[in-house]
Structures are given as C-alpha cells and as structure tokens.
Symmetry: C2
Subunit: 336 residues, 2 copies
C-alpha cells in the first residue's frame, strides 16, 4: 500500500541497506548517494514504517501512562506534564485511564507486556489494587521498565517511586485550621495515611474526636452526598473540614452552599492537589500544592534512563517531593 524502503532504494538505484543508512544519516554513506536517496524519498513521500522499525529495534518509542481517571483534573495536569517531558525526549505517550477498575488495570498491563510500549508510568491516588500489585511486580521483573507516581508502597530496585508525603498533606491542612482557631475539624478520605496526618495534628492539641471522621467506603466523590447529608443532621457540626482532594472539596462546598451554609463563614474547607481551577473557584480554595509538573518530569527522566539501560542511583529510587499549603479564601478564622 504505502511507499516502502524498497521503492526508494530501487528508484535511487541503490540497495535497501544503503537507502536505510542514508535515511538514518549514517556517516558511512557517500554524500552523493545520501543526497540522491533523500531526494527520492521526499519525492515519493516516503515515511518509514514504524511497525517494522519497532520490530527490529525492539522499541516503539512509546511510553504508557496509567492513571485512575483522566477527568480528574489532578491527573489531567499530571498527564500534561508527563506528556510534555516525554515528547522532549522523543517519546509518544499512550494515556490509559482505569477508572479504578482492577480488570482495566490488568488489561493495560497485558498490553504493556506485549511490547507495545518501551516503559510505563503508573500514577495512582495512593496505591494500585492489591491484585495488580502482584501483576505489576511480575511485569516489571520480566518485561518493561516501570516508574510509579504516588504509590506509597513500592520503591524498590525495580520500580522507582516519585511521591509526596501523604500523611503530611492532611497534617498541614489540619494544623492550619487549628491555627485559625478551629476546634471541631471534620475529615473525609479513604486514605489511612491521610487520616494519620489529620489525627496527628489534632492530637497535638488534644482535639481529636472520631465523631468528625468520615471514611467513605467507595468512591469519595459519590459519597460526598452522604457526608453532607450527615453533616446537616448532626447536632454539633464541625466548623472546618479537610477533604482529600480539590474535586471533592469543590463538590462539598457546592452541596453545602445549596443547603444555605456559607463557606468559609460557617465552615472552612480545605482541599488537596491545587488543581488549576482551585484558584478560580468561588471561594478560591485553600489547598495543598502537589508539584505535578516536577513529578511528571522526574518520572519520565528516570524512566527514560532505565529504558536506556542505565542503572539509577539508590537515592533516586524513592523520591519524595515537597508539598506546600496554599492559603486562600475557603478557610477563615474561628472564635469558639
């Protein structure tokens, strides 16, 4: 169907080998031949067949990125960063979103194993499904290079991890709310790590009260309705709330506002992620910044090095990026 190297070679009057070398700028080929081949190739609109090249080169120049959901702005922004870095290194990015389903995750792992990508990055909220942790281990050990973003578990010789200190996110948020004078601070997340940070901050001031803790079983986003409903019924309401990401914080605010509760006057709310929109939300969202660009870039950088066969230093096997509290308008002081 398409124009092949053979066509180019014939028209240029050289062998396939020579044509290939010319097109790959080998210095072994005579300048005249080179010119001839290039010109013929251009004339015929020759485009090298990436499939054939992939087979012989054992590499596709594609990197896979797996995220739980693209429609979560946090991951969209991360994907953007990863993509930009990948492109700079000459790679294309295949973006895979699992919607948190273990079988989708498994399908992608299968796909990766088949050799369609040169390496993969797994980004998660906190960890992969248990089942796939095992599959992933195997994947890495036997097939392709992998880097994890945000997983709190790995960080081995095989799978470097780029992460943040999850516990600290909620610690920072909670402590800030305490500093603002709040004493009844609510919390919602399915993450144990985050809960620990929340509890640590409160414990330091002897303010911890399990009544204000919500552990949604499923998807937090969906369970916000339940949390808000519960918040409306309870007799002593928290005056501040720590959400596990900006998306859920925003939903929560909206639902509360609809019930006539003012943010931040009645309840201060704090998110995590610093998604683009959090700055433009109304009220603008107090949140924890996560350096997505830096993390995405680092992940690609390390992955590319592993692909190239380099051995990464011990110090780079487990990198924790600093996070930062951004004080905005969704939180305010409270006088008991």
């Amino acid at each position: 169907m398409g124009v092949t190297l053979k066509d180019v070679a014939e028209k240029a009057g050289v062998s396939i080998g020579t044509a290939s070398m010319a097109l790959n700028n080998s210095d072994k080929v005579n300048i005249e031949t080179y010119k001839k081949v290039i010109s013929v190739a251009r004339k015929l609109h020759y485009v090298p067949n990436a499939r054939a090249r992939a087979l012989v080169k054992q590499s596709t120049n594609i990197i896979g990125l797996v995220v739980p959901q693209i429609i979560n702005p946090f991951f969209a922004e991360l994907a953007q960063a990863v993509k930009d870095s990948a492109r700079k290194k000459g790679y294309n990015l295949i973006l895979c979103s699992t919607d948190g389903k273990a079988d989708e995750e498994a399908r992608y792992i299968e796909f990766f194993k088949s050799g369609m990508v040169d390496g993969a990055i797994f980004a998660s909220q906190e960890s992969l499904t248990n089942q796939n942790k095992i599959i992933l281990e195997e994947l890495i050990a036997n097939y392709i290079p992998v880097v994890n973003i945000n997983s709190q578990e790995f960080g081995s010789d095989l799978v470097p991890v780029i992460k943040i200190d999850l516990e600290k996110t909620s610690y920072l948020a909670t402590r800030y709310l305490i500093e603002l004078g709040h004493q009844r601070i609510g919390f919602g997340s399915h993450s144990l790590k985050r809960f620990e940070g929340y509890k640590r901050a409160l414990s330091e001031f002897d303010l911890y009260n399990p009544e204000f803790v919500y552990f949604p079983m499923q998807d937090f986003d969906e369970d916000i309705y339940a949390i808000v409903a519960s918040l409306m019924e309870v007799k002593v309401r928290p005056t501040a709330f720590v959400c596990y990401n900006d998306n859920s914080a925003i939903k929560m605010i909206q639902l509360l506002v609809e019930k006539g509760i003012r943010i931040p006057e009645d309840i201060s709310i704090c998110g995590t992620d610093n998604i683009l929109l959090s700055r433009y939300y109304n009220p603008s969202l107090t949140t924890i910044n996560i350096p997505k660009e830096a993390m995405g870039q680092k992940a690609i950088e390390i992955l590319v090095r592993i692909i190239a066969g380099e051995r990464v230093a011990k110090s780079e096997l487990d990198i924790t990026y600093p996070i930062e509290l951004l004080k905005r308008k969704s939180t305010t002081t409270y006088q008991g």
Copy 2:
C-alpha cells in the same frame, strides 16, 4: 529476551505455525495439540509480541486521539468517552495534546503516517491550524482513516465530521439572556461562528451593540484578565456576558467576584460545554450542554468501521449533534 512463539512451539513439540494457530483459536488445529500448546504457553508465561504481530497484520489496534489540551475538562471528558468506546471495540487509545501548536500537530500527523495507529480522531475547538488542514487532507488521502470532531470545515467522503452547531450555542445563550430581560449583553470568543449566533439573537431584538464584543487575539483563557479589566473601566457595563466555554466563564466569574462584582446579581454569565464542574461551581453555571459521550462514541464507531474497510453512508459523513441550554444559577433576570 522474552519468551517467543518459537520457544512455545519447541517445548510443545509442534511447528511455529501450529503453535500460532492454536493460540489464535484456529479450528484447524487438533484439540489435543491445542491444549498442549495453550498449557505450554501458560507455563512459559508467553505473551505474543505485539510489534511482530503489528508488522504482519498491518495494524496495531491503536487509535490516536488529538486534542488541543488535556487539561481543558471538556477535552478530558471527551477523551474519556472516546477511550471507553475504543476499549469496547478492542482498541487502545493514544492521547495526543497539541497545546494549540501547529508543529506539535504536525509531529503527531507524522507519527500517525508511520503506521503506529490504525486510525485517528482529531478533536478541536473549532478547526485545526490552516497549515495542518492541508497536511491532514494528505494524511487521510494516503495513509490512515480519520474522523474529525467539532471541526466546522471538513465533512468529506474522506473525513467524516461529528459536530455541533456552533452558531447555535451562542444563539441559545444570548436569547436566553434576552428573555431574562438583559439588554446589554457582552460576548467574548475568537470564534466567528459563535459571534454570528450571538449577533443573530441580539439583532432579532435590535439590541446588538459592538461595544460589548471582545475578540481576544490569542488564547481566550489568558485574555480574560484583559477583558475583565476593560469591563471595569467602561462606563456602561453589560449586565450579562456570553463566554465561549465553561473554563473561561469560571475564570471570568472569579476575577469579577474579586473586584466586588456579584454574580449573577450584577452580571449574569453563561458558559458553554457543561463540563462536570460547571454544575458544582459556585454559582452553578448556566451553560450549553454538548453531548460529549455520544459524540466520542460515534466518532469511534465510525472510525472503526472505516478501518474495517466499510464505506460509511453519506448521511454519516457529517453528523450534527443537538445541544441544549442548561439554566442554572449564574444567570438571573434583569429589570432595566
């Protein structure tokens, strides 16, 4: 490095051809042989090499999706829909975002030409860069199947288009604002089509006034600062504003609120896209729904059919999806 078909064949005591057929569930192979091969393959953790398969099959089972930006929730949501449909048809999706740069667009087209994808979907705000319209035409004509989403130009035998009536988006929004009693209605977009709809609605009531029209030259998102600044200075301010997407509407609201302007009491604001967050924004955003899921799904459906060699019916070469006004809280009545 990995286990190949040859290894499996040898261990199973059959030829490579037979092993291949067994693994592909061919009915030509004896049931005993089949079982033997399958069991050996499993034992050896054999995974077919997708690169080799792609070469001989002339197909990678990958579809490319090109969007201007992933971090725009509209495209993230569209990508989600496209991905889901693609997976259902057995394809993987390679997500490419161009950031509106013509050269990135061109690089992706080059990549597609090389045969790494079986087909491509180009989604845009309104149209591709001029330069690449030409490249794209050529791509389609000679290399791989393509479907356009949202482009207002194509819709040929070669490139089916899935789109909405852009003119109508702003017409609907503007007319609604007029119905609410507004007489000074502002407008911001670089889209001529959208401007036409805006103007048509106003003209019907003799309310058109060029003073209220903003044509940002570059990226609208960035130019919102300028528009808001200008809005603050002008002596007669519009009481309503039509934004060209939800993202910009949200930014605009936030900037206005920061200046002490109340939304919707002082200015009613209307977006377009109905991104997930628009419902959760504060105030919730009056906007135009665009059926992203349906459009994404249709795009895949048609593309897959073209890839399969089917000829699509004339009626499917240019499909316009219905849009719908969603009345929410960012707009309110106005008594002159």
